[in-house]
């Protein structure tokens, strides 16, 4: 009796997740083998044709490499800056409490708003960045920063940093505060320098938080669609195209749902491999303990 109750309790959640998560993923993999279009009702199985088209599609490869480079770049930068920010917030200086309560604001505002803020800042005429450049006498550098292939991707990275670094900072701070001060004191007595203290005490102390943050942010960054779609749409000249944006464009702008789904399936495969590696690292960590 009591045992059955548990199943009843998780039933609504399991139902919703099967219907709106599991089924769409499986169906998505199936659609990848069809010529489904959202304009027509009927469709046919076309075998691997979508995948062959994909391999021959230069835009796919551009997006593929962008995704594969962007994700680790963003996560590593966020990680390093997050640790710096956490260290800063750990210092006991006046005003830090206010700073801590303000700093995560960028994380809670909608991405559409974040993108708009940065688009406004990057405008050639009224944008803040260019106003500063003009007043410094660097008028020849003035441009629409999202509109230049060399600068569009760095600005996308800035967007990612702007949104997530404070979150990393606060999370690492929380983890650092669980490290007893006595470990630092005894290390100091043993003559450890700041670098050694960081490497041998702080880093192991925030280890599980670090793994968690990296794991979820690799998934989020790789799957992130709205930053790039709203900021540049993948342009200029495909310089910011990434896989999720390509999938969305193929399915909803070109109505090639089948082809879009095949690219999406490749994304799923890459994330699946990453997830397996994560599980292996996790397991090895548990053996160690």
């Amino acid at each position: 009796m009591d045992r059955r109750k548990g199943y009843y309790l998780i039933l609504p959640a399991v139902f919703i997740m099967c219907m709106f998560t599991l089924y769409p993923v499986i169906e998505g993999i199936r659609v990848a083998f069809t010529d489904k279009s959202l304009l027509r009702g009927s469709y046919h199985y076309i075998g691997y044709a979508n995948y062959i088209q994909m391999i021959q599609d230069p835009i796919f490869w551009v997006s593929f490499w962008h995704s594969l480079i962007l994700t680790p770049t963003v996560v590593v930068l966020q990680l390093v800056l997050g640790i710096v920010l956490a260290w800063t917030m750990k210092q006991k200086i006046p005003g830090m409490a206010i700073f801590k309560s303000l700093i995560m604001a960028s994380w809670v505002i909608p991405v559409a708003a974040t993108v708009t803020v940065f688009k406004f800042m990057a405008q050639p005429d009224v944008g803040f960045i260019n106003i500063i450049l003009t007043s410094l006498g660097l008028k020849e550098m003035v441009k629409y920063w999202f509109g230049v292939p060399e600068f569009a991707m760095p600005f996308i990275i800035l967007l990612h940093l702007w949104r997530n670094v404070p979150f990393y900072g606060i999370a690492f701070l929380a983890a650092m505060q669980t490290i007893p001060i006595s470990s630092y004191e005894s290390a100091e007595i043993d003559g450890a320098g700041p670098f050694q203290k960081f490497w041998f005490i702080t880093l192991p102390g925030i280890r599980s938080m670090l793994i968690l943050m990296v794991t979820i942010h690799v998934l989020w960054t790789f799957n992130n669609f709205d930053f790039i779609y709203l900021a540049t749409g993948g342009g200029p000249v495909n310089s910011t195209d990434v896989l999720p944006v390509l999938v969305y464009r193929q399915s909803w702008d070109n109505y090639a749902a089948g082809y879009g789904a095949s690219i999406g399936s490749v994304m799923l495969l890459i994330m699946g491999l990453y997830f397996i590696v994560y599980l292996m690292i996790q397991e090895r960590g548990e053996y160690k303990r």
Binding site: A13, V84, I103, A113, D125, P166
Partner: protein
Amino acid sequence: MKITDLLNFNFNRKQIRIRNNITAYIIVVLSLIFFIFPMLWIFYCSFRTQESIFTAKLIPPLEGFTLINYSNIFSETDFPRYFLNSIEISGLVTLLSLIISILGGYGLSRYEIKGKKTILLGIFSTQMFPQVLMLIPLFILVFTLKLIDKKIGIVLTQLILVLPFCMWMLKSYFDTIPNDVDDSAKIDGCNIFQLLWKIILPIAAPGIMVAAFFSFVVSWSDYLIVSVISQSQSTATLTLIVARLSSSLNIRWGLVCAAVTLTIIPTLFLFSFVQRRLIEGMTAGALRE
């Protein structure tokens, strides 16, 4: 000899502390400029006329102050309707996700369920599914259910964005509440809903607040799902409108800044209530390992 060593040691410590504090202040100032200033700039520009913004001066004369952008946004667009749509959709997502994940989280925390580990891992692994891939079948599913361009269609689909996290988090929150609490309530003759409502929920209130905040903000910020399921003004949300306003050809930045300001204020307002608890909840599990 020994005494001078000790003195030196203290002297060095003081020096290091001063150096650390100066570094920390520099990072604080840089962080405020990078993370907070852009929001203030948007807020400030929402009170400037088009002419004032286009003078491209950093600090324009005060007579540029105006409320015209806010009155324009209410007279020219259906802003109040979009605002209400957003509130309605996010509110419903929050309510449903709380109900489902409280039941599910409690079930997973308290009852013996076959394959519990698999279920938990399954919930976590949904984070790796590309949303852009699931979107195609989701659209068809919502279409089949005749819920396209209906608020409930958006709500049901957005649930998948928040359920995994809320379940996971509430489960680990319930884990921290000792079983004795449940047992004594059961002896007093409480049924499971009374037990949850009267005993467990008050204790777990901080965790539930975080889950509610997360659900609300994720739904409020969602662009991906709304962009395909909403087809008319009757279901359009604020993020959709902000994205549209900021990608039109002749952008009126004053208007856009006002729209962005009105979009982010609710999330910042809610954030101010939960920010202390947020990290605790967001990273549930990672700190307690």
